[in-house]
Symmetry: C2
DNA sequence: GTCTATAAGGGGATAGAC
DNA sequence: GTCTATCCCCTTATAGAC
């Protein structure tokens, strides 16, 4: 049941935003009552926390791996795109949700992103390197637009196209 | 007074999102009362409408000009970036505000964006062309991140860097 | 034009029955 | 575990005094 709630919350949060989704909306979609939700979660914020936690773990892990194995730019961008697809677009939609900047900050999302930017920009990056790194990540993030609404996957050809585009941005 | 309200609303909407900004917030920042706001606007939605209208006009105008004068990719992207900077980042922050998708649709933002994508992708675009066009626009949109919070401008060097990056994406 | 006061409704959250 | 009923607060919006 708890997992069912998280699934629904994930979908509604990334469709209507956090502020635009009420506990009632979640309860109805799950097929229960508000109090039913509150048996499993102490607050609405707690739901968001759990929704964000898995994609955040993945992102941290990606960064760790990239550091340990000295990922090339291509490997890094490829893994980043895979992460976006895997998280079912939740994270990267909520990314821009201005109504939850505090929680996002609590999950240190900006810090993690900055780490990625610096990994992409190389050692001792110039200002230009940093601008290009940020732009490359933006290209990778457009993957969201191409995630099939049905099975949540993304066409291989498009994925390759995006990867190449991101690499061209860097150089 | 009405203009002052619009200014404040613009800032708060793009900082906290539409749902995250209450009429009270706006009133306090302006230095008046809720009813004071409602003397000038019939509803909160009406405020959003007016906030969006100017950047939307600019965007329409850009598309019209680009069509009439057969803008090259570079001209188009440059003008697009200028528009983002000029609009004081409002539009392009609200762009991703999931709590106002209805209003955005009413302003036909998606349609306008599609027009831009197709202008960038060239005539008879392949699927790859379209993917690259969307990616290039994403690069241009990262300009938001570099807009100085102080005077709302953007460093010329960064702007050029972004333009070149977007052009590399296309080819 | 701008205020205070208030209505009407929805939000998150809790109590207590079953 | 899940429900109904309820609380309290905040939101949008309006009425009416000044």
């Amino acid at each position: 049941m708890k997992n069912r709630i998280l699934e629904v919350a994930q979908i509604l949060f990334s469709r209507c935003g956090y502020a635009g989704t009420s506990i009632n909306d979640i309860a109805q979609q799950v097929g229960t009552s508000k109090a039913g939700i509150y048996y499993h979660f102490r607050s609405k914020e707690a739901i968001l926390d759990e929704v964000l936690s898995q994609p955040m773990k993945d992102l941290s892990q990606l960064i760790e791996q990239a550091k340990k194995n000295h990922f090339k730019e291509e490997q890094l961008l490829r893994a980043y795109i895979n992460g976006i697809v895997k998280s079912g677009k939740v994270m990267y939609e909520l990314w821009n949700d201005l109504s939850i900047q505090d929680q996002l900050q609590h999950h240190q999302i900006n810090e993690q992103c900055e780490e990625l930017v610096y990994l992409l920009a190389g050692s001792q990056p110039s200002e230009s390197d940093l601008v290009r790194a940020r732009a490359a990540m933006a290209v990778a993030q457009t993957a969201i637009q191409f995630i099939a609404n049905g099975d949540g996957s993304i066409d291989k050809k498009i994925q390759t196209e995006l990867l190449n585009a991101a690499l061209r941005v860097l150089n």
